[in-house]
């Protein structure tokens, strides 16, 4: 496998600047800085020269963090992922599961999707990690070490469903821009941390607080240190919920680097982009947070329905909040061939954003008739719910099993694609698997 990021492009001017900067940097380092430091920076800058001058800002990168720009080309080993995970993008890393990989009740790391807007930070030292609470609506700026967060506040563990807002994007027509997620950008792991509410209250929330916005240490794709790859947030109401955590553990262990080590937000039921990774600062805002990917088409949909492909004015776009009702058949894997007369046990999970799933059904005749599944209660609010059913087939042939969940507001999953939107968010159409009876 070769690498697109080792591209030596013809940008002589930039190259010249880099070589010049490189020289100055080396001389400066030689005189002023310690040798070890020097080698790091010299490596970075010679590296910039090699790959064609893209790390112009190399010397300005956040102290202690170097981007994983050139990294182990095998993401499965790098991130301990199952071999059947699908790599959609390797710069930035975006990897999704397939439905059958999500069969566990609590998703293991190996089958959790990866969504990145920027480059993964490196060289994180949890012992030195701090979280700062600031913003217009904080009573007093306050900074906590990770150890302080863990000792000062009560810890909670919840199973929380996190789904990428763009999960299912690949089915929209006209096509929607971005990573073409199919069904696997969702997981429900067990998260341990402190309540965001407790920390915000400790710092003090002013009465005019409207929103929180997170900041992390991931690096912008252009390596520009003045730009954040993503800085989203949620209204105070969501920020203050019991289940909204500042998490440091996932499935009982330290959160893996790719999932936000050593500290991340977890806001179940909302687009995964609200659950910021590598978080070191949270701003309490007196207005809707205006960080990167809070504006434009990002994580926003037309406030009123539009025709497929229609242009939507910026002022007519609304921020996505709770995710819609949805479900996945995780067993069997699509493509099962069974013998005639045998019944088939199916199972999977269903979730409904802020709500609960009230009813779960399946169809083997493309929605003509529906039969009910057994559905469990969630282990806690915002956790996905497990369903199962025993399916019989009337005769030989090709079948599709369709799954349909209905939430407590009586909204069910559509069989066709829901309303088109410019970035292809919120596709909660029924999941389908193929079965042949011989």
């Amino acid at each position: 496998m070769s690498h697109s990021y080792c591209n030596i492009s013809n940008k002589p001017k930039v190259l010249e600047i880099v070589i010049y900067t490189d020289f100055l940097l080396r001389t400066y380092n030689l005189i002023i800085l310690k040798r070890r430091d020097f080698i790091n920076k010299a490596t970075l800058s010679s590296f910039a020269t090699l790959i064609g001058a893209d790390i112009i800002f190399g010397s300005n990168l956040l102290e202690g963090y170097t981007p994983v720009a050139i990294q182990n080309p095998d993401p499965f080993k790098l991130f301990n992922k199952h071999k059947d995970m699908i790599v959609l993008n390797d710069k930035p890393w975006n990897i999704e599961a397939q439905a059958h990989l999500l069969d566990d009740k609590i998703t293991p790391n190996s089958c959790m999707f990866i969504r990145n807007n920027g480059l993964v930070p490196e060289g994180i030292d949890a012992k030195k990690w701090t979280l700062t609470i600031d913003g217009e609506s904080v009573k007093k700026n306050k900074t906590y070490t990770l150890a302080e967060l863990k000792s000062k506040f009560k810890q909670y563990t919840y199973q929380l469903t996190i789904e990428c807002g763009g999960n299912g994007r690949s089915e929209f027509n006209p096509t929607a821009k971005g990573n073409q997620w199919t069904v696997g950008a969702v997981h429900c792991a067990s998260w341990t941390g402190v309540r965001l509410r407790d920390v915000l209250n400790d710092a003090g929330i002013k009465k005019n607080a409207v929103y929180i916005g997170f900041h992390g240490v991931d690096v912008h794709l252009s390596q520009d240190p003045t730009k954040e790859p993503i800085s989203r947030g949620c209204p105070m109401q969501k920020a203050l919920q019991d289940e909204t955590l500042l998490a440091f553990k996932m499935n009982g262990e330290d959160i893996p680097l790719i999932h936000g080590y050593p500290l991340r937000l977890v806001a179940g039921g909302w687009p995964a982009s609200v659950s910021g990774k590598w978080v070191n600062r949270i701003s309490i805002r007196d207005k809707v947070h205006d960080g990167t990917k809070m504006t434009g088409d990002a994580y926003r949909i037309p406030c009123n329905p539009v025709a497929p492909g229609e242009k939507v004015k910026d002022k007519d776009m609304c921020i996505i909040e709770s995710m819609p009702v949805k479900s996945l058949i995780t067993y069997p894997k699509s493509g099962a061939i069974i013998k005639e007369g045998r019944s088939l046990n199916i199972r999977g999970h269903a979730w409904a954003g802020e709500l609960e799933v009230a009813k779960m059904e399946y169809s083997i005749d493309f929605g003509s008739t529906w039969k009910s599944c057994t559905i469990e209660k969630p282990s806690n609010r915002l956790a996905w719910q497990h369903f199962n059913a025993s399916v019989s087939f009337p005769k030989k042939g090709y079948y599709e099993i369709w799954a349909k969940a209905t939430d407590t507001n009586e909204k069910a999953q559509p069989m066709l694609l829901p309303g088109w939107n410019p970035k292809g968010y919120l596709n909660n159409a029924c999941h389908r698997i193929a079965v042949k009876v011989n």
Partner: protein, 157 residues
Amino acid sequence: MSKEEGYKKLIKKVILLIFVLFSLFLLTGGLIVYYTINPSFFNNNTESNITINIPIDEDEDRIENGIHLRTGLIDDEGLMTVVNNCTNCHSSKLIIQNRMTTERWNTTIKWMQETQNLWDLGKNQEVIVNYLVTNYPPKDIGRRAPLQNINWYELKE
């Protein structure tokens, strides 16, 4: 006389000392200059610090079966302009996944210039967009496409 000789000896010693110091100075200076130019010379471990995957292919822009191997992009007019301008910040995988019209590609380029530090593409913009819409044209997939790429297997329970 003995006093004068002693004085001469002292002078000689001083000159020698100055000479030695000057040589040392030159040597150090030389080393510093060399170090500036080639810092890795003094560090045997540098190799392990710099792990860069340079494609081993002699021709890193090798094309096989109409595909540019390094990026997976289709070989056609404008390929290298796309490679050189569009795969620096993000992977070519992002390009191949997306199918858009000329208008939407132009909007996307504008967005990248406004938010992602993409440079002014000048005349290349037309070349790039033409390449994209020719080789990765939008597909009409209807309101719901049939299930595709089904891997059939015997289910044993």
